[in-house]
């Protein structure tokens, strides 16, 4: 599906918190995926599965103390391939905002309340594109216009609280795309917005990705967003990818019981009235270490003894579809 080498190839990324006395927490444990030009890659999972930690690790925004990061994240930059996880902090700071950008979940708290929008947008242009004051102001207006904010010159003078939720998220997106980054990470960008605005923001993101050829990593727990936007999907559970597939196969033939459970727990419009939702038993806390077996086993409906015989390997199922289940769902279910 991808043309040429991927823009960002994440291999066996792992993030471990703690150590030195306290118990270690393996927040992310051997996650691999690739981001390609003009494509959207989804990272799906429930709270605490390591989605946000993955994104912060890629951005180099995790604190340096008490965190160990393993694996590699090789990014294709104009000057050659670079492993983001091994870049010095100064170099990383230059990349952030220019080559790599991130959109956060809560647009209100992600904007500085006492600084006008214009200053916050131009500050990136001045920093990375070395623009002067008036040129940056002009470009900022163009950017706001580009993300669909009406009357941009007026909005630039306003403060975040004077904008609506959707407009704030648009402003944040404008800041993220200000320097035409090659890779963009969106960490649940629509969670804090209401449904109609959600759709508009997703539409905008899709448009930006296809027009600019940016690679987007979409982090979400909303399967509706995944279905509408993502080209490739990685389902995370307890820090590991349990299933990865292009959108079509994943929704048509989910192999891992967790994916099946996620899909089954989504309310459907075409379901008969009054039909109860099928939840996944238990909570994320009921898992076992991946080293002992399948972390999902305690919550799994298809649990068998072999699930606890060591970590389940990644099984290819053809067509870029891989999963981590010793007893995957049959292709011809129902």
């Amino acid at each position: 599906m991808s043309n040429g080498t991927p823009l960002l190839a994440v291999e066996e990324l792992s993030v471990v918190f703690g150590g030195r006395g306290s118990d270690e927490v393996r927040a992310v444990d051997g996650v691999s995926f690739t981001l390609n030009e003009g494509k959207v890659t989804g990272l799906v999972g429930e709270s605490g599965c390591g989605k946000s930690v993955t994104s912060l690790a890629l951005m180099g925004l995790l604190p340096s103390r008490g965190v160990r990061i393993g694996g590699s994240a090789v990014m294709r930059l104009p000057e050659g391939e670079t492993d983001l996880l091994r870049l010095p902090a100064r170099r990383m700071r230059d990349l952030r905002g220019s080559q790599l950008a991130m959109i956060f979940q809560d647009p209100l708290s992600s904007l500085n309340p006492v600084v006008p929008i214009g200053v916050q947008v131009t500050e990136i242009l001045r920093r990375h594109r070395r623009m002067g004051g008036s040129a940056a102001a002009k470009e900022a207006a163009v950017l706001l216009d580009r993300v669909g904010i009406p009357d941009p010159t007026r909005r630039l003078r306003e403060y975040p609280h004077q904008l609506s939720g959707g407009m704030r998220q648009r402003a944040l997106i404008a800041m993220a795309v200000a320097c035409r980054p090659r890779v963009m990470i969106a960490d649940e960008p629509t969670t804090a917005l209401d449904v109609t605005i959600q759709a508009q923001i997703l539409e905008l993101l899709k448009e930006l990705v296809t027009e600019e050829g940016t690679a987007l990593l979409m982090i979400t727990h909303d399967l509706g967003v995944v279905a509408g936007l993502c080209d490739d999907i990685n389902v995370l559970y307890a820090g590991r990818a349990v299933e990865s597939a292009p959108r079509g196969p994943l929704f048509a033939e989910p192999a891992h019981p967790y994916t099946i459970g996620l899909l089954g727990s989504v309310p459907r419009l075409d379901a008969p009235r009054g039909e109860p939702l099928t939840p996944i038993r238990g909570s994320v806390n009921d898992n076992i270490a991946w080293t002992d077996g399948c972390a999902f086993a305690p919550r799994c409906d298809r649990y068998a003894a072999e699930c606890l015989e060591g970590p389940p390997p990644l099984v290819p199922a053809g067509d870029g579809h891989t999963h981590r289940c010793v007893d995957p769902a049959e292709e011809e279910t129902e």
Partner: protein, 348 residues
Amino acid sequence: MTTTPSSQNLPGDPGTAVPAEAGGDGRTPLLGRRAAKVDRLAELMGERADDGHGAGVWRTAFRRLRRSPMAISGAVIVALFLLVALFAPLIAPYSATSQAWGNEVFPNQNVFVGPRAENWLGLDNLGRDQFSRMVVGARQTLLVGVVATLVGFCAGALLGGSAGAAAVLGGRRGAWYDNAVMRVIDMMLALPTLLLAVTVAALVGPSLTTVMLAVGIAQVPIFARLLRGAMISQGSRDYVLAARALGVRKRRIALAHILPNSLGPVIVQSTLTLATAIIDAAALSYLGLGNPDPSFPEWGTMLADAQRFLSSAPQLAVYPALAIIVTALGFTLLGEAMREALDPKLRK
């Protein structure tokens, strides 16, 4: 939604003849309460429709201030004090230093002159016009208060701000710097303010600069701790992470993003500090560590001088003491009201 008593009567509400409490104008309590709720709602909507801009933190705080009796009384006192201090030479009817009525006052024989048409507050022990001395003395107090607060603010903000910024953005080395600075601040904080001020004044010797410096230095730890705490709490906010994610430089994050968001409590504290500074300055003068130049009347010095004649002429001590108390009260009221208006926890 809960309504605070102060927010129930709209400013300049034309409908109610009695501007008393809500429901006080002949309606049943229930109706009154509902009316108050509606008023409150209208007010909120009014705020929104106001100018299409919404209201900023400072603007809403100011609105709240205008309705607080505490803030108004504080502001009136402070305004009066400022007017008197600024226009002292125009207000004072006589020279504050000339002993024009020296032949009417004999402290040794317990002969003092109380208030009279010519000298509104009477004469002091050297036959000088007490009212003029009080008025001119306000200048000294204002000067010391403002400069001392500025000294405390600047030094404290520099120390606390750098420590806070280092703690948030500086990584391991920053944490070390923060720790070092704050332990020194803690040591300063452990000393009582006045003792610290007296120590500084005793070390440098009595002069006007000493008073300002000593009182200012005594305020440094409070400002430093306050700003550092505010900056650290701001440092974990999303917008800081967002700014970092966009590659904004650390210095700019600290100065343009974290600092402006942390200044609120510090600005409020400076109003409160003005009150403390005025009292501390008076105390230093009282202890004889103030400005030794007798050509500048100062309330603390006047108080100390009047002490010797307390039994025969208590008014000489009462005037400057009252002036100090009322001025300090004014600044405290205003400062406390500002703190409450800006504190979202006290707001609802």
